[in-house]
């Protein structure tokens, strides 16, 4: 009883709360990094160097008035933010933070597919939120968002298949173990998939930007065209659920990239004997630092790149990313046969 219910429940509470706290600090980090990139200071007033801004923002959002437009579809309007947040948090149930039991909640054999499947449910929140608002800009935004998500999901999933082909398993722990154990000519074992599958890394990163509506693909929230996107009519707690879902999804995609390409909880260059002292640092700290490295890349790109036009976005997805992903898959399959 204790092992089947109490411990996973405790783990879930810890992980969900950590993710939500991480989101508030991620927003602060984003504002700070972008400010530095633009030679500003960013938030400075709440606490030393604005560090308590991460607490002030959620308090403000919770205390705000929660408005439902009179012509909105009341039920769907309420459900949409929940449908967007819940899948983003459910995904963390299969993210492993280390080899042994207490570091993962559930170790299922189709972990990677589970992540792809559950995140694809999150798109309903965006579509329904825009539709239920009964307002034209949110509707346009949600149509854009769903077309964008479906298009880029194809490219990302095909790319993930080539990584699965390399590792031979869909299990996330198995994928990290494959990066530890695979013996390569000249390099030996412990080589991350970032080095053996560099094309896949770039494709998943670009696809991840598009799937989480980040710059330079944030057309569903293009404020100059759509006043704010699918959540224009939302306020208060329901708006913050969309907000949390968006950032939780960014953390999810960063975690997937860290696990699949940067060796998960392994210290860097574990094949070099001189760097063995890095093993002292626990694996979950390595994983979290890798996740934050990828998050930093996301923020850096937002500060650097302008937004694409919508037809450019679709061209990149269908005419560039998907053909490269297919070519990479075929090449991986050929290499696999040649090596074996």
């Amino acid at each position: 009883m204790l092992e089947t219910f109490a411990i996973p429940l405790l783990q879930a509470v810890v992980v969900v709360n950590s993710v939500l706290v991480a989101v508030t600090f991620l927003v602060l980090m984003e504002r700070k990094v972008i400010a530095w990139a633009q030679s500003r200071l960013g938030p400075m007033r709440v606490g030393p160097h604005g560090i308590l801004q991460a607490l002030a923002d959620p308090i403000k959002l919770i205390l705000k008035e929660d408005i439902t437009p009179t012509r909105a579809d009341r039920w769907v309007f309420t459900i949409a933010p929940i449908m967007s947040l819940v899948p983003a948090l459910v995904v963390f149930s299969v993210v492993p933070f280390g080899f042994e039991f207490p570091y993962w909640i559930s170790n299922i054999n189709v972990g990677l597919l589970f992540i792809v499947a559950v995140t694809s449910i999150g798109v309903y929140g965006i579509i329904l939120g825009g539709w239920a608002s009964n307002s034209k800009y949110p509707l346009l935004s949600s149509l854009r968002a769903s077309a964008q998500l479906i298009s880029y999901e194809i490219a990302v999933t095909i790319t993930l298949v080539s990584v699965v082909l390399t590792s031979g398993t869909l299990n996330l722990i198995g994928i990290v173990e494959a990066q530890r154990d695979f013996e390569l000519p000249l390099l030996g074992t412990g080589v991350w998939f970032a080095f053996t599958q560099p094309v896949a890394l770039v494709l998943v990163f670009i696809g991840g930007l598009a799937e989480t509506n980040r710059m330079p693909f944030d057309l569903p929230e293009a404020e100059t065209e759509l006043t704010g996107g699918f959540h224009t009519e939302y306020s208060g707690m329901r708006f913050s659920m969309f907000f949390l879902a968006e950032y939780a999804n960014i953390i999810v995609i960063s975690a997937v990239i860290a696990i699949m390409f940067f060796g998960g909880w392994m210290p860097p260059f574990s094949n070099v004997a001189a760097l063995d002292f890095l093993e002292v640092i626990p694996g979950w700290i390595w994983l979290i630092s890798k996740v934050f490295f990828v998050l930093y890349m996301f923020i850096w790109l937002r500060a650097t790149l302008p937004r694409y036009r919508y037809d450019q976005l679709m061209n990149i997805g269908w005419k560039v990313l998907i053909p490269i992903a297919l070519a990479n898959l075929v090449l991986t399959a050929i290499m696999k046969v040649l090596v074996a």
Partner: protein
């Protein structure tokens, strides 16, 4: 015992949601109930240890196809969110006939397979990996193995069918060709 309870609860939810799909006033609500229905079907697969099928069910149906349904419904139904259904009696006869055919099919399949020892998938998995028979974690591997050996031709035919459908859709959608 627990398995039976879970099965009947899930089955009841699936049937109830199915009824809601066809009785909901707004087409968008119907689609929402359909998504929930698919999620419960996926849960049913999990209870059968078919976790690969469950995840594919969510990914393909709930996450892919129904999103496209919703897309179409939203585009077509913008002005008339609460459109009334057409006269149910007109389509009732055809519906009853089709339902009858499906019922006969289900009964026929269950009668004809009840006499066999096990489904062919399990049989061939036992042949290939006799030592791993009780390992529930292997069904992705098993499914791949069976699809590319015993069911290779049906599998390839189905993929050709999808390819033809895709090319057909592209040809129809192109106006300037």
């Amino acid at each position: 015992m627990l398995e039976a309870v879970v099965f009947y609860v899930l089955g009841g939810m699936i049937l109830g949601l199915g009824v809601l799909v066809i009785t909901a006033k707004s087409a968008v609500h119907s689609v929402l109930f359909l998504v929930l229905n698919f999620l419960f079907v996926a849960a049913l697969y999990v209870t059968l240890n078919a976790e690969f099928l469950a995840v594919i069910q969510i990914m393909v149906y709930a996450g892919g196809i129904v999103v496209l349904y919703l897309f179409v419904v939203m585009l077509v139904n913008l002005k008339r969110a609460h459109e009334q259904h057409a006269d149910p009696r007109r389509l009732g006869v055809i519906g009853m006939l089709l339902a009858g055919v499906v019922l006969i099919e289900v009964v026929a399949i269950s009668v004809s397979t009840a006499s066999r020892d096990a489904a062919p998938v399990v049989a061939s998995a036992v042949r290939e990996f006799p030592e791993r028979l009780n390992d529930p974690l292997l069904n992705t591997e098993r499914l791949g193995w069976v699809l590319y050996t015993d069911y290779l031709i049906p599998f390839e035919l189905a993929s050709m069918l999808l390819l033809v459908a895709m090319i057909g859709a592209i040809v129809l959608a192109r106006r300037d060709a």
